[in-house]
Symmetry: C2
Subunit: 382 residues, 2 copies
């Protein structure tokens, strides 16, 4: 039993950020729903053009200059309005990454979704969170342990984040319905997966929330689950792994957690249990051993006590357009690129162009579907 | 599967030490079987008197000067001869701590038995050893894991040390009968405990050994088991703990192991399994997590590769007697002592006497049954 010392320990989510106008929100939705625009490109475009509205206007031209083989599709105003309307009718609303009610830890990851579709009690998203993840084919003991861990962390004031999957995920959500739990969906809000967890999803809404970065109507594909896992770790201050085999989805979440600087906890198990191979390996690699909620809280308490630094994103700030590359510069920079990832710093150094010009050329290539961004600041041609 | 890289990696046990004459061995046995003489007092007496024979002659006088309330019993020559004879007829022989075939790691602990009664293949005692200990009421999985660990460590050339108890101990011995295993007894060689393991003990003898510091005829009492555990860790380069509850005997072995500078390994288990509480706690405290033999070998290989420094004990070396305390010095030093342990360094400083004089007074008190030695160099009055 853990005292609720953590409630209120997380700070500043309510005190920062700018609220979008309806028109701006529509522009943000159009921009993120346009071809070749992911979260990182979205940020780069806002940086380059000053606002989502300006970015939408400039996008086709940038893509053409980047060498797009055919015109890039920009999400139409009508399509965005339809999605906004349908979303609203499901009781879901969009929260932008610059707004005060956007989960502030998630805002810090470099591929935070510009718009998060949220259904439920958004105050849960302002509390400190911890993720509990693990095997779908969990053992009875694993399920029981996940329930105990989720309940005790909930009593301590932490909101439990997970992926609504069978096994450990569902057990963690169920045991924290009353204290607050957040499920991150891999598809749209109208495509809960697995289908038998629709009732669980409904039960989460009163105290907690369902969140998704995917459009309505999006049926989750295999590759959407790992992508979704970065949001599970991104929302949380730490990730607790309960029963995970080698090469399991939970370990993908751990990889994201480490990239994002989140704490990783693993629950030990018998060496003869294949469902403990992943967690025991994590322990060998330095994860914190957790057999009870107190083990998690001891590590997270000092982290949650510290104010989080917000990376401000201000769409209404005065804007100076970035330098436009000359034709020579564009081809010189493009020639420096290949299938092997190189750092943007190296591109600046080798091209002799200004960082602003290099950023613009990369943005053009990205919008043309010719550039891939990797972790850190590495880029390569597709 | 681990390659037998360790065989031969442990060094120098055969190249050092002096062999006792029959007469000296008899003196050693008489001295260690005398009242108030434990392994530490034995060493102190040899240091003070120069040889076991001289110590036997001086012992009653030292005890009287220490304030013994009644004459201290010295083991008679006849009794010692009887024990030697009975021991021999059981196929057991005494190895002295100064002799080349004494297990060289055990020789380094500060309360190493001066004489170890050995039955079996003494070459096993010259190989590098690792201890496997754990719960008597082990689970089927724990037993299976102990077998696998013992077999794989055995294949790697390590001799398995344990305590012949039910559960994990017996499993570890059984799985390493062919490669070599050592059981440390808490009683005399004619009092194997538990009785149902007499056959197991017999099976150990061809490739391995049974060892004891206790006299023939000694039936093990409760307090003899913890005392025995220091020899299990003392023989080994590391201790692997498999399934241990909180406050279990295995954790006593771990405490000795840490005092002796041995490596400690713990096997993880489910937080819901009470038999894993002790091992999971050890992991939280920094023990090395072991799920397979390779985890143990990785840590021990560099340790076993290093030559062991031998603390020479040479009963035949030229001897200068230690300073005799005056009556004043004796009472001043005794007055500085009380039931609270103090360090010998402090006694020297506070008494103003020489270290040699302080040592002599402490020896007298010890032989009088009035002094207790604690870990380090702490002493107190009984």
């Amino acid at each position: 039993m853990v005292s609720p010392i953590l409630r209120g320990g997380d700070v500043s989510a309510d005190s920062e950020g700018v609220r979008l106008t309806d028109e701006q929100r529509l522009d943000w939705l159009r921009l993120i729903r346009s071809d070749n625009v992911g979260p990182r490109t979205f940020r780069a475009l806002i940086g380059h053009c000053g606002s989502a509205g300006a970015a939408i206007a400039t996008l086709p031209d940038l893509a053409r200059r980047g060498g797009a083989s055919r015109p890039v599709r920009v999400c139409s105003r009508a399509d965005a309005e339809r999605e906004l309307e349908a979303t609203r009718s499901l009781g879901v609303r969009f929260v932008a990454s610059c707004e005060p009610d956007y989960p502030h830890r998630l805002r810090m990851i470099d591929d935070a979704p510009p718009l998060l579709a949220v259904r439920g009690n958004s105050s849960a998203l302002a509390l400190p969170m911890v993720a509990i993840v693990g095997a779908r084919n969990a053992s009875a003991a694993g399920i029981r342990f996940a329930e105990r861990m989720a309940r005790d962390l909930g009593l301590a004031g932490l909101v439990i984040v997970s992926g609504l999957a069978r096994g450990i995920d569902a057990a963690a959500h169920r045991a924290s319905l009353a204290s607050g739990t957040v499920a991150v969906l891999a598809g749209g809000h109208d495509h809960i997966y697995p289908r038998d967890h629709i009732d669980l999803a409904k039960a989460i809404v009163p105290q907690g929330a369902l969140v998704s970065e995917m459009p309505l109507g999006w049926e989750p594909r295999a590759q959407d689950f790992p992508r979704r896992n970065r949001l599970i770790s991104g929302l949380a201050a730490g990730v607790v792994v309960i029963e995970a085999a080698k090469r399991s989805g939970s370990l993908i979440t751990v990889r994201f957690a480490l990239e994002q600087g989140r704490e990783v906890f693993a629950v030990p198990g018998s060496p003869l249990d294949p469902r403990a191979e992943g967690t025991n390996d994590l322990l060998k690699q330095g994860a914190t051993l957790a057999t009870e909620a107190a083990d998690v809280i001891t590590v997270l308490r000092p982290i949650l006590g510290q104010p989080i630094e917000l990376e401000a994103e201000e769409p209404d700030a005065p804007f100076t357009p970035e330098a436009e590359p000359g034709g020579d510069e564009r081809s010189r920079i493009t020639q420096l690129l290949g299938p092997t990832p190189v750092s943007i710093d190296d591109l600046v150094r080798l091209s002799g162009s200004s960082p602003a010009v290099v950023r613009t050329v990369l943005l053009e290539l990205e919008l043309a579907g010719r550039l891939e961004r990797h972790g850190g600041t590495l880029v390569s041609l597709v």
